[in-house]
């Protein structure tokens, strides 16, 4: 509740209570906010989440390790390859697998494509919430190109279940490389058009500058990570601080904002998309030759020729498919830079065929608890803009 009103007798004021959600038009997912309002001004907000709680953590305790990748897809479903690779890297850390460089570069390309896909959604829907529908229809076409690249590699558009523990199931074919190269040529042109429509647009700037501002200390205390924290001024990026998958080989900057308001978050995401294109270009140039997978006998299926001719390969194949391979006992925490922030996987293994405990450190869940505080004192339309700019994905919020 706003400080100035804490001790006043509120029954004299004409206060409204309105219910924002769980089904509400800005298609961000389902969470409810009960707002106490004085006219247009929000005095107090209370968030309720859990409307799409699917019990991932309990579900993971009952599934063999390589069957957990489809669950991780559905965390932040706008950029599912990042979640998939994060989980596979956690398993590789547990097993102590060293990956070939080629695999790591291929993973970097796909993760950056996923980051672009997610930021396109967030930025275009933020513009839609301010009323600008044209940019959304133009830039969404580029997402279809990204979906086509995913389809060439793993067969699915959205919930990809991409890659295997140890690498990929097959090398990228020529069509995939061509599509990636074409995308890197075409996306900058389309994105420049989109930016020309929205970035310096008078109405967009008036609506987003100053809304939902958060200082760097408060953001850090609330556990913000990712573009939300970088817009507030702190340059914490897991790719730079704890590099994984050969990110240290690439040359990119960390864009940082000043005030932490919606416009800064939008601009940080835009700048990250340009960075992603540059990283993909660098990876394409420097792509090393080599095997497309590491040797992980516990989880990576042996080649079919060996399965049909050799005994050990047959036994391994059987054990992997039935989910009977054992892993070392231990606990490991691995985090990747998801599109919304630090996505962490805390895995405790007791040597059995399923995890003993798997906990997902979900950035959206931790960011959303600050929302009720951020909108206190603002008007209702600004509350919608703040929610859009924080990029809250319901699947990751509730897990």
């Amino acid at each position: 509740m706003i400080e100035s009103l804490k001790n006043k007798d509120l029954s004299e004021m004409n206060l409204n209570t309105i219910n924002l959600g769980p089904t509400h038009p800005a298609t961000h997912g389902i969470f409810q906010n009960v707002l106490t309002m004085d006219g247009e001004k929000i005095l107090h907000a209370e968030s309720t989440v859990g409307y799409i709680h699917r019990a991932f953590e309990k579900l993971a305790e009952h599934r063999p390790f390589n069957q957990i990748t489809p669950i991780t897809d559905r965390l932040n479903y706008c950029s599912s390859p990042i979640n998939n690779f994060g989980w596979e890297m956690t398993m590789e850390k547990l097993l102590g697998v060293q990956l070939p460089k080629r695999v790591e570069y291929m993973r970097v390309i796909i993760m950056e494509l996923a980051r672009i896909a997610d930021h396109v959604i967030c930025n275009s829907i933020l513009a839609v919430d301010t009323g600008a529908l044209t940019g959304f229809t133009h830039i969404f076409q580029q997402r279809e190109k990204i979906y086509e690249i995913y389809e060439e590699i793993c067969g699915a558009r959205l919930t990809t279940n991409i890659g295997r523990i140890g690498g990929f199931e097959r090398d990228f074919n020529d069509k995939t490389w061509k599509k990636i190269k074409d995308f890197v040529q075409e996306f900058p042109k389309a994105f420049k058009e989109y930016e020309a429509l929205v970035n310096r647009n008078r109405i967009f700037m008036d609506r987003t500058i100053g809304t939902g501002a958060v200082s760097a200390e408060e953001a850090l205390n609330y556990g913000f990570t990712g573009p939300n924290l970088r817009a507030a001024g702190l340059d914490y990026d897991v790719r730079v601080m704890n590099p994984y998958s050969s990110y240290q080989d690439f040359d990119f900057t960390i864009p940082v904002g000043k005030q932490g308001d919606s416009y800064d978050r939008y601009m940080v995401r835009s700048a990250e998309m340009w960075n992603s294109i540059s990283i993909i270009k660098q990876a394409l140039e420097k792509m090393p030759d080599g095997p497309y997978h590491a040797d992980v006998p516990e989880f990576y299926l042996p080649p079919k020729q060996d399965v049909y001719t050799k005994m050990e390969a047959l036994i391994y194949h059987f054990k992997i498919v039935m989910g009977e391979t054992k892993v070392p006992i231990g606990e490991v925490y691995h985090s990747v830079e998801g599109a919304n922030g630090e996505l962490g996987f805390y895995l405790v293994s007791d040597g059995g065929r399923t995890p003993y405990r798997l906990h997902f450190r979900r950035p959206c869940f931790i960011t959303y608890q600050a929302y009720a505080k951020l909108i206190e004192g603002s008007v209702l339309s600004d509350a919608i803009i703040t929610m859009s700019s924080l990029n809250i994905i319901a699947g990751e919020l509730d897990a």
């Binding site: 953590e57 309990k58 547990l94 490991v332 925490y333 931790i366 959303y368 608890q369």
Partner: protein
Amino acid sequence: MELNNAEYTKVVDALKSRFPNSINDIGVPYETLTLSVDSAEIKNIIAFLASEELGFSFLTDVCGMHYESTDELGVVYHIHNLYTNTRIRLKTRLPKSKPEIDSVTSIFKSANWQERETYDFFGIIFKGHPDLRRILNMDEMDYFPLRKEYPLEDGTRTDKNDSMFGR
């Protein structure tokens, strides 16, 4: 035990000198410093870590655990020092009959909902939490689902044919 990392040695020495009886076990699995600590002292330990002297200013994660072999509950904290890039894991154990531990919401606001989630899943009571109630499950739920004794599926389901699922 031999800690090869200068940062880890500094942190462990500082903690040992300040809380000589509360550190039960020290390990470095997969290069992350892991300390098992007394649950009664956890708030003071985290406040000390978060202070200017040691600089662990970012709470990465709070999650619960159910240790089936000893039938105890526990809470695991991951804290991160952004200046020196050091990560620490703190583990505590709580008896199942009285799973109470201090809340660290006054030090890190990000612990608020994470502790509510831990309460929702395991039934661990966080003393001093401003608003401890269920967050992800329905309010009417009367058990704590992530404890090992409860099944994954819905117990009230009537349309699942057990004979077809090998049960």
